[in-house]
């Protein structure tokens, strides 16, 4: 706002990026931040709507519209324009627990329903958010609060992904003793291992973890509840337990030959890659020189493409089972746009291989090869009345040395629910709101099914509030 006609005077700018050629040489973030003046202009594009849709947290036709955290977007945009960055950051921090995560990885529900986009381009909210959190860290406005008055209530949080971390922060800020258990060696859950480094640099996740540790949260790694730490002990040792373990069971890949070597689930592929990267070791699953096929065209599929490109795959093909989306959005504002979008990984692959690597309405019929995969048979399908039907005579064999399955998740695996001694039905833990029982609450993807980082964060906060309400 600041400037009444900002939205007319300044066009929306997207951050500059390093060239594809340059950026695929490594796994670093490839965005170039705006200079300050440009950033202010971008903030001035915000119209400070009387009824801001950007922070409305609605469900429209089954989709999330507007920021689930209800970030006070118009307010901090205005303050950025005025150059009051610290004040702006404080207003951002009122609702957003980890702007450095959402600023990088959020699909930007706020921008999708920005009123500016009724006629033209939305405000660059995410860039503004990232700018603020960068300023905050750079200028030392974020200091660990060491003066928290403790209330003596002990909370265990299982899982250190976005939901667990935001619940932990919320409770810790309000005086609870919080211990976070993580089954992996590094903390952050999918933030650490599910999202590749170029999209969210791991030093950023680690910076936040250190900050939370400094504020008194105890982090315990390599500890799987029910295996390394019994449920009985957990129940005895803590007053409250929050499970935020995400969705551990991937949607099963059932094509014939699915057990061959060289077939991986995306989460394993990405986890190993990031782990190897951080440990400065050779990639265990290496795409170099291989024909890589990725099944599933969602955000994770795109991340796998970006990873394969960086590892030097010979070719990359992305199979998407749904129909090709319309070239541009056909839904009226403020619906979440349905137009075709080309995310960074696909863009890189398209550039490197000189063609669109996506194949729509296509899935795997059979995995070929002796021991390891050396090709796949694909087929085209139609989605009719909730079911996929094969389109006859569309079978085709394509080369494939490495198959990555990125078809999403169905919920908590049987193994996990057994470990946690929790009742589940169809991979969903049986809950009443957040409550599993008197002591155990569940939040994030584990409660809602797979979703966005920002939704996990919001759910973590809400779950923490629920826990607090029990102790009022």
């Amino acid at each position: 706002m600041g400037k009444n006609t900002g939205f007319l005077d300044y066009p929306r700018l997207n951050k500059q990026e390093l060239s594809v050629e340059e950026r695929i040489k490594n796994f670093f973030d490839f965005h170039i931040p705006f200079d300050e003046e440009k950033q202010k202009e971008q903030a001035a594009r915000c119209m400070n709507c009387g009824v801001p849709f950007c922070q409305s947290a609605m469900k429209v036709n089954g989709r999330n519209v507007g920021c689930p955290l209800s970030n006070l977007i118009p307010e901090w945009n205005h303050l950025i324009y005025l150059g009051l960055y610290e004040e702006a950051y404080k207003r951002l921090a009122k609702t957003a627990p980890f702007p450095e995560f959402t600023g990088s990885v959020c699909p930007g529900l706020c921008e999708a329903c920005c009123s500016c986009s009724i006629n033209g381009d939305s405000v660059g909210v995410k860039a503004n958010e990232l700018f603020l959190i960068d300023q905050a860290f750079k200028n030392g406005w974020i200091k660990p609060n060491k003066n928290i008055v403790r209330n003596g209530i002990r909370v265990a949080i299982v899982g250190s992904g976005p939901a667990g971390l935001s619940a932990a922060k919320h409770l810790n800020d309000r005086g609870y003793y919080v211990t976070v258990f993580e089954k992996n060696d590094r903390f952050g859950g999918l933030l650490m291992y599910g999202i590749p480094n170029m999209k969210l640099e791991k030093s950023i996740v680690e910076r936040r973890i250190r900050l939370l540790q400094d504020e008194g949260i105890i982090f315990v790694n390599n500890t799987k509840i029910g295996v390394d730490y019994s449920m009985e002990n957990l129940r005895n040792d803590y007053d409250e337990i929050i499970f935020a373990c995400g969705t551990s069971k991937a949607r099963p890949f059932t094509a014939k030959g699915n057990d061959k070597k060289g077939v991986y689930y995306a989460v394993d592929f990405l986890t190993k890659t990031t782990k190897n990267l951080l440990d400065e070791k050779k990639f265990e699953i290496n795409c170099k020189g291989k024909d890589v096929v990725i099944v599933g065209g969602g955000d994770t599929g795109n991340d796998c493409v970006g990873t394969a490109v960086r590892e030097g795959a010979k070719s990359v093909t992305l199979l998407e089972i749904m129909k090709e989306p319309p070239e541009t959005n056909t839904l009226p504002w403020p619906n979440y746009p349905n137009g075709k979008k080309t995310d960074y990984g696909v863009f890189e692959a398209n550039t490197v291989y000189g063609k669109d690597i996506r194949r729509y309405q296509t899935t795997v019929e059979e995995v070929l090869g002796e021991d390891s995969v050396n090709g796949i048979v694909i087929k085209r399908v139609n989605f009719v009345a909730g079911k996929f039907e094969d389109i006859p005579d569309t079978k085709e064999t394509i080369p494939c040395d490495l198959l990555v399955v990125s078809m999403g998740f169905v919920g908590t695996s049987e193994e996990d629910s057994d470990s946690y001694e929790m009742k589940a039905e169809k991979n969903r833990i049986q809950l009443k709101g957040f409550a599993y029982d008197d002591k155990i609450s569940v939040c994030g993807d584990m409660k809602n099914g797979q979703s966005l980082v920002v939704i996990a964060e919001k759910d973590g906060i809400d779950c923490a509030e629920y826990v607090i309400s029990k102790h009022k």
Binding site: M47, C49, V51, A57, M58, G66, I118, P334
Partner: protein, 867 residues
């Protein structure tokens, strides 16, 4: 826990008053709580002599420390105090009070939401309509706020979403979901989406109607209820001026409402005359309701002639006591043209109508308007407030056909915030009081009652009807249908959807269609029918005033008490609704009996006509009905100059020559009463004393007060002194007199005035256009120089003055003026020229000389850049 400052201050004031000791002391309040202008006004109004809002000062100090301020601390504090003072004075002035002394403890407030006990004890005698919370609840609220403050981890304040919506904070009728459903419904024609919208609203408790239950014990079948088509004919759009909203939006609503046989409202900004002609496809862009507000912008005889209903706006729901305001940035050349004003210059309507100071004055205005258009209904817009019933009873007696009771939550995004939040009361209260008063006084059958204020659902209408309404106004609803997303920047000209803007770049974004507005109207009617069926009524007429079908919902028992609104069940009788419009009986006017028959030939053919006639002061609105008839035939163009000449002798009644059209020249030898030449629309008027008079005409009053109020074109020559408020809101007429009383040419926006004698105080106050010439340099002291400056006459001015004087002598045979011509010395005269107007005129000249294709727009753009 501190006691709320208003409560403690008022309690002390009341106590001291009861002890007869109040005048022994002054009450000084030192508190952290007061911070808004309304707080200060309320504190003073309830008896506080002085306030030290220390938290405000400390906050400013903190701002200073943090480097937010451009000024030093002392200046900042001074600026705040001065700003607050100005704002308080503004509020006080809206109530017609001039001094703080008179406002102090005057208690001119109404309360909504406090219990009678609290009011009785601590705010004694404050009108209180619906009861409400007591001390316990007040305390609980304060504790809640206090506890919330204690929880805070940082030094930021929460956003409570009072003005701009914030998710999960203060409830607003329009939130993202409700806007989305309503737009989707109107744009796709999907009634299910409209139902989702009303369902969304039904979850909210915002208005009094939300606390009321409807009694559905005697339902009838839906198909027995009167049709959607017949219901929508009672629908109107709110008065939103052309200027406040774009041409596209304004015309879209007009077309939609005309297609439905409903009525759109011009608002107070006039209407472009092209719209009085039907479009090729049969659409009608002429608003059925033509509003007459205090500014009288574009109120010409042609405008009035093209009305189906003429609405006199006495006040505006969202900002009672204030006139409309159009910021200069929205006064584009085309808007200025429709309003007869200067582009780029803010237009502030005077709070009162200068021709209405009493109920008799209103009766006169209604009579004028009836003469100006015999077929139109006359509606009077009032605002819900305590005592509105009494006012309405008076209005009925003045001859109004419709009374609109406007609620506080209808309002413009451009209203001042203190007004949006703190002025006006809900229509439920005002409507109920009006209906009850009129029924009890046997006046109800003479008028139709209309109400407005966020009427959005069939249920809203059902409640309104049961409380007494027969017609309904909608404003934000149709705006949302046309694409408004409640940006709340109506005052900034930056509406991003092209609704409330004049910026051509933004107007190009307007996506509204008449069908959307029609869908909105039909949907409400459809839902109303469902409620009518449930309530058991076939027609709206038989449903009016049945308050016995309303009761307080259980969950609000003990929290509010609507008994005053629902009172009166036994006065529902056959006379409790409007019966039929009576044609305006104007057969006894001179215009009808004499002027029309005698002018017929001249009106129809090439012949001119000279009529000599004697008149007296019972002959009011002389020439108006004749002008209406001529306008019906020829529109604004009227007749050739001086085609009909009427020479009257005697003592002219009120509104002599009101809305007189082009080609009609009337003179009276004798004198004239008030409102001479009101709304003059191209005609010519002359008034001179009888040749046999022995007095010096230059020292005697020749006509009454408020002559030429709202004149838009034409000429007027007065061979004598005019009364007070001469030429107020003149926007195009040439007027000459031998002197004038106080407040001459106030709010003038165009035209030329020549005053050849003494002028009264406050001359040219608020004048933003046109030019005035004054004889006698000693008059300079009387000029209000806030917006205008005094200049000597240049060669062009001398020419203008001489021409006007010559015409004056020709029309009035004035000896005095003939003498002035003979002895003419330009240094005896001075010119009064509004600053901005002068700038604009010279800019337009410059751009015309440059050969700009649209010099006016180029000048406007350059002018706005300099602002």
């Amino acid at each position: 826990m501190a006691i709320p400052s208003l409560l403690v201050a008022s309690a002390l004031h009341q106590h001291l008053t009861k002890m007869s000791m109040r005048t022994h002391v002054s009450i000084v309040l030192e508190a952290a709580e007061p911070r808004e202008i309304h707080h200060y006004a309320a504190l003073i109004g309830f008896g506080v002599n002085a306030i030290c809002p220390y938290l405000v000062y400390e906050t400013i100090e903190e701002y200073h420390k943090r480097g937010y301020l451009k000024t030093g601390l002392k200046t900042a504090l001074k600026n705040y105090n001065e700003g607050a003072l100005k704002a308080i004075c503004k509020i006080i002035s809206k109530m017609g009070i001039s001094t703080i002394q008179s406002y102090l403890g005057a208690q001119i407030f109404e309360c909504i939401g406090l219990s009678d006990d609290v009011i009785g004890e601590y705010f004694t005698n404050t009108p209180n309509s619906i009861g409400g919370i007591g001390l316990k609840e007040i305390e609980a609220n304060y504790i809640k706020i206090y506890e919330k403050a204690q929880e805070r981890g940082d030094d930021t304040l929460d956003s409570i979403g009072l003005h701009g919506y914030r998710n999960r904070e203060q409830e607003h009728i329009y939130d993202p979901l409700s806007i989305m459903y309503l737009q989707s419904a109107c744009q796709t024609g999907n009634y299910d989406d409209y139902k989702k919208f009303t369902e969304r609203l039904s979850d909210k408790v915002i208005n009094i109607r939300d606390t009321l239950n409807l009694e559905f014990s005697n339902p009838i079948a839906l198909d027995e209820v009167e049709s959607v088509d017949s219901i929508v004919e009672r629908f109107k759009t709110g008065a939103m001026s052309y200027g406040s909203i774009s041409k596209e939006a304004h015309e879209c609503m007009a077309i939609a409402m005309n297609r439905l046989h409903a009525k759109s409202n011009t608002g107070e900004g006039g209407e472009e005359r092209e719209r009085f002609t039907l479009d090729a496809n049969g659409d009608n862009r002429s608003s059925a309701i033509k509003q007459v507000a205090s500014g009288r912008f574009g109120v010409t005889i042609e405008y009035l002639t093209n009305a189906k209903e003429i609405q006199i706006k006495m006040a505006q729901g969202a900002k009672p006591g204030e006139g409309g305001q159009l910021p200069g940035s929205k006064v584009f050349p085309w808007i200025a043209k429709a309003r007869h004003s200067t582009p780029g210059v803010s237009l502030i309507s005077p709070p009162p109508h200068h021709d209405i100071y009493s109920i008799e004055d209103l009766a006169q205005l209604i009579f004028d308007l009836k003469n100006a258009n015999r077929e139109a209904r006359i509606s009077v817009k009032l605002v819900a407030e305590a005592g509105v019933g009494t006012i309405a009873a008076g209005v009925v007696k003045t001859g109004a056909n419709t009374i609109l009771i406007s609620g506080y939550d209808g309002g413009t995004g451009a209203s001042p915030r203190t007004s949006i939040y703190n002025a006006g009361i809900p229509w439920e209260i005002g409507l109920a009081e009006t209906h009850q008063t009129l029924v009890m006084n046997g006046l109800r059958d003479r008028v139709r009652l209309e109400t407005d204020g966020k009427l959005l659902t069939g249920r809203d209408l059902a409640v309104a009807i049961l409380l007494g309404a027969e017609e309904f106004g909608f404003a934000t609803g149709p705006l949302i249908a046309m694409g408004c997303i409640m940006m709340r920047v109506c005052n900034l000209n930056t509406c991003p959807v092209g609704v409330a803007t004049q910026d051509e770049r933004l107007r190009a974004r307007f996506k509204g269609k008449p069908e959307y507005v029609m869908n909105f109207m039909r949907f409400i009617a459809m839902e109303l029918r469902e409620y009518m069926a449930l309530l058991g009524f076939r027609t709206i007429d038989e449903m009016v005033g049945h308050t016995e079908l309303l009761s307080l919902k259980k969950e609000f028992k003990g929290r509010i008490d609507p008994k005053k609104i629902l009172f009166n069940q036994n006065v529902v009788n056959k006379d409790s609704i409007f019966k039929a419009y009576k044609m305006n009986s104007l057969e006894n006017t001179i215009d009808y009996r004499v002027l029309l028959p005698l002018s017929k030939e001249a009106m129809n053919g090439d012949m001119s006509k000279i009529i000599d006639i004697e008149i007296s002061n019972v002959n009011r609105s002389f020439g108006t009905l004749l002008s209406n008839e001529i306008t019906k035939m020829y529109g604004e163009t009227g007749l050739k100059d001086d085609k009909i000449i009427i020479n009257a002798t005697g003592n002219a009644g009120n509104s002599f020559g009101a809305f007189l059209t082009k080609g009609v020249s009337i003179s009276v030898t004798g004198d004239a009463n008030d409102y001479l030449g009101k709304g003059l629309s191209g005609g010519k008027i002359a008034v001179m004393p009888s040749p046999s008079a022995t007095f010096d005409s230059s020292e005697n009053i020749i006509c009454g007060n408020v002559a030429l109020y709202g004149a838009t074109s034409g000429e007027c020559y007065l061979d004598g002194i005019a009364g007070e408020r001469f030429g107020v809101r003149n926007s195009g007429a040439k007027i000459v007199s031998l002197g004038c009383g106080q407040h001459g040419l106030e709010y003038m926006t165009g035209g030329t005035a020549l005053i050849l004698g003494k002028i009264g105080r406050n001359f040219a106050a608020g004048m933003s256009g046109g030019v005035a010439y004054v004889y006698g340099l000693d008059n300079k002291a009387m000029v209000n120089l806030e917006l205008a400056k005094i200049l000597p006459l240049n060669a062009e001015d001398v020419e203008n003055v001489k021409t006007l004087m010559a015409e004056h002598v020709k029309r009035t045979s004035s000896k005095k003026v003939a003498n002035l011509i003979e002895t003419f010395d330009k240094d005896d005269y001075f010119k009064v020229l509004p600053n901005d107007y002068a700038k604009m005129v010279s800019l337009i000249k410059k751009h015309t000389a440059n050969g700009d294709s649209n010099p006016e727009l180029a000048a406007f753009n350059e002018f706005m850049e300099g602002c």
